[in-house]
Symmetry: C2
């Protein structure tokens, strides 16, 4: 590792202590890669469209669910679908027709056929639900072809690709949203609304995680098993940061008055995937040639410009029940999820947690209050998926800015590569690029 004096002294990072050493390269740059300064897309509204016409790239498990939910959202149309497996696009067409919409255009001629989808002129928004490595090229192609895009999570897996999304969004004046469904969860939006009402006092600390025993899925011979195990052979860090981090970023107003400044990250040893393979995979399987390098438990600590801290964790390799942690501590109290519980100074007589009963009615987020019943009926992780899509359609129909823009996409995704850099340097601090180019403090308030 080649530490320049500039890095060692942390020059240009006035908020940090002297002696700060960054494991990442400083890639902050006020100009886009083309060398031309482009205007920010922060708060740039969508052009009004009604109905809203969607193309979907990726008709696997996630894309299929999104299709079904979009077909349930009023004024949403699905005019084009793409997948490398022709049967999946045929099934999608059948479901679209059955829902009473015209048969969509189909793109199923190999890896690059998505380029033909994004060039169509009957599309307002391209929804990208493909394996991680395809998110960026597909989003770039969509924006370059003049289409707004939304990518599944994480939006990107390298710092360079995060910048490409930002630069391309600014150059093309097209949005690149991060489709972070967990931001629309009932508990997450309730807590966001309570934060907005000042219930917790000033926020000090939060916890965000993806703790999900994926061992069986990772070793499957279909679905995510076809690709999602491979990053565990190449990367040691947090592979999937946004489900937990997006909601906590919204609580704290990240890119809306505060921003992530640096993180440190530490991985445990790798044991879980090897142990699962030993117990479940026949010895003649090619999987026995694989070597897993991603530590089972990756833990990162993030510092914000406002002095807040966030615990960010990833574990998909050990036996445990699901959790995103989803915790926020303010001066006056805290909320913890899994199970949801809360303590607010003065509200309880005992120094003990209580459930959400007394808060749920009063602080229910308007999206859940007005569309919760439809969301629960439509389904998709308890309704959050439907609400995310309903809200996206609303923003486009009414000409609003998206709830989560390309700066959020980059900021929430970049802990992936930053955690790798930190782990690789023995937990040294890794600095977040300021994707907003200094505008993180211009916009205030909460995202949704």
């Amino acid at each position: 590792m080649n530490l320049s004096r500039r890095q060692i002294l942390g020059l240009g990072a006035g908020l940090l202590a002297d002696g700060q050493v960054f494991a990442d390269q400083d890639r902050n740059s006020p100009v886009s890669q083309s060398g031309q300064r482009a205007e920010s897309v922060m708060e740039m509204p969508f052009e009004r469209q009604d109905p809203v016409r969607f193309g979907i790239i990726g008709m696997g498990k996630r894309g299929s669910l999104m299709l079904d939910l979009l077909l349930a959202v009023p004024r949403a149309r699905v005019t084009a679908v793409c997948d490398i497996v022709p049967e999946k696009t045929s099934q999608a067409r059948d479901r679209i027709v059955k829902a009473g919409q015209p048969a969509p255009a189909i793109f199923a001629r190999g890896d690059e056929d998505f380029h033909n989808l994004v060039r169509r002129d009957d599309l307002d928004f391209v929804y990208i639900a493909t394996p991680w490595d395809w998110h960026v090229p597909m989003a770039l192609a969509s924006m370059t072809a003049g289409k707004h895009s939304g990518v599944e999570v994480p939006a990107a897996t390298t710092i360079e690709d995060c910048w490409k999304l930002v630069n391309t969004s600014e150059r093309t004046r097209r949005h690149c949203m991060i489709m972070e469904n967990c931001c629309y969860g009932a508990n997450e939006l309730l807590v966001l609304n309570m934060v907005r009402a000042g219930i917790f006092g000033e926020l000090i600390y939060g916890e965000a995680a993806y703790l999900h025993d994926l061992r069986a899925e990772l070793f499957s011979d279909e679905g995510a098993g076809l690709w999602r195990r491979f990053p565990h052979m190449k990367r040691d860090g947090n592979l999937y940061p946004t489900h937990g981090l997006g909601p906590v970023a919204n609580y704290m107003g990240i890119n809306r008055g505060d921003r992530f400044v640096y993180l440190v990250s530490m991985s445990s040893m790798q044991k879980g995937l090897e142990a699962y393979r030993a117990a479940h995979i026949p010895r003649d399987s090619a999987k026995w040639k694989e070597k897993y390098v991603c530590g089972d438990v990756n833990t990162s600590l993030i510092k914000t410009a406002g002095g807040r801290t966030i615990l960010l964790q990833h574990n998909v390799a050990n036996a445990r029940p699901y959790s995103r942690l989803n915790m926020v501590q303010g001066v006056k109290g805290l909320f913890l999820d899994y199970p949801p519980r809360i303590y607010i100074e003065g509200d309880q007589t005992e120094e003990e947690f209580t459930d959400l009963t007394r808060y749920r009615d009063q602080y229910m987020h308007p999206l859940w209050r007005e569309h919760g019943e439809a969301a629960r009926q439509a389904g998709g992780h308890g309704g959050m998926d439907y609400l995310m899509l309903w809200r996206l359609v609303q923003c486009i129909r009414e000409g609003l800015p998206p709830d989560m823009d390309v700066y959020d996409a980059a900021s929430w995704s970049v802990p992936g590569p930053l955690s790798e850099a930190s782990v690789g340097s023995g937990s040294g601090p890794a600095r977040f690029p300021d994707f907003t180019r200094g505008r993180w403090n211009h916009r205030k308030g909460t995202a949704i």
Copy 2:
């Protein structure tokens, strides 16, 4: 900050990645401060004594409780007590006499009268229950006077003082225990016993904390309010690491086959004490001249030589219910406390936590099985305090080594100053001294 090339390259830390930068000075040294190599006291047994004669320094809230519990432990005698407040020693004498023991020697003539206590020849063990800054001078005096000693937590607050305890224990051949009561908690010893039985599989990760809303106590004009607020004006880090860390260290066999190698630490902003003062302290109080520098939430990540990781947290300044986290994740399952719940692969049909019912009987620790009823009757944090003392008396009566020795005292306490060093350097890695001088891998098994 002056980073030498040796520090930047992390020479001598073979387990760490190249490029590791340490925020601490490398104070590892194979020789004691006197320049002479002393033998390890690891596994050194106590000389058998029966009855066991105690002197207690510090008759405040903690020392008074310890006195009452010692008077309930069979074969324990309290022959001397010391405090700077004469009334407290008189009250102690009355309780000792009331319990049927001879009147103790009393030392109440100022700050330095403890030197006269430790010089007595009717003492086997000096129990030190004083404010943090007095732990080390009193333990050093006790050992130098030929007495085994036990200190309340943390044992020391600087790296240098941790080494002084180790060096003095080795030179004098007297033990310096850390009286970490939480190691004897019912849940902690249950989990320790389950770890020993392999229920969790190989351990990967743990969580340890002291999350305790102490605001009222810190601002009180008596008790801990007389001294415990002041470190918040001088130190930014984890002021109180051992209640959570001791039990987790025992689960992981720290200094018994594994050891702490380095940590990184991050503090949030300070808000809690200022907000409490604003709400509760009259504006003419001298407390308004104080400036608090300790971040409300301090979070550290510890890496062990075996590749395990530990989250270590401290928050005494925000509104929240009490927790020590007390979590351990193995390949096959995990335990979390507050409330206690567990998930072991194969034991449950649903991927959900269950309570401890099915495990408590089978894996109850022998100490609780045999003495739990007496412990609960005697009291002291649910019985853990009594059990700690009962077990200490047992070790001395039977000529066993102490459960927790000076290496544990130093290893569990040093995250205090190491977290300060890391926070001060912008979360750079800070290396643990190897207080065992390479013997951490010689002893195996669990502590208690």
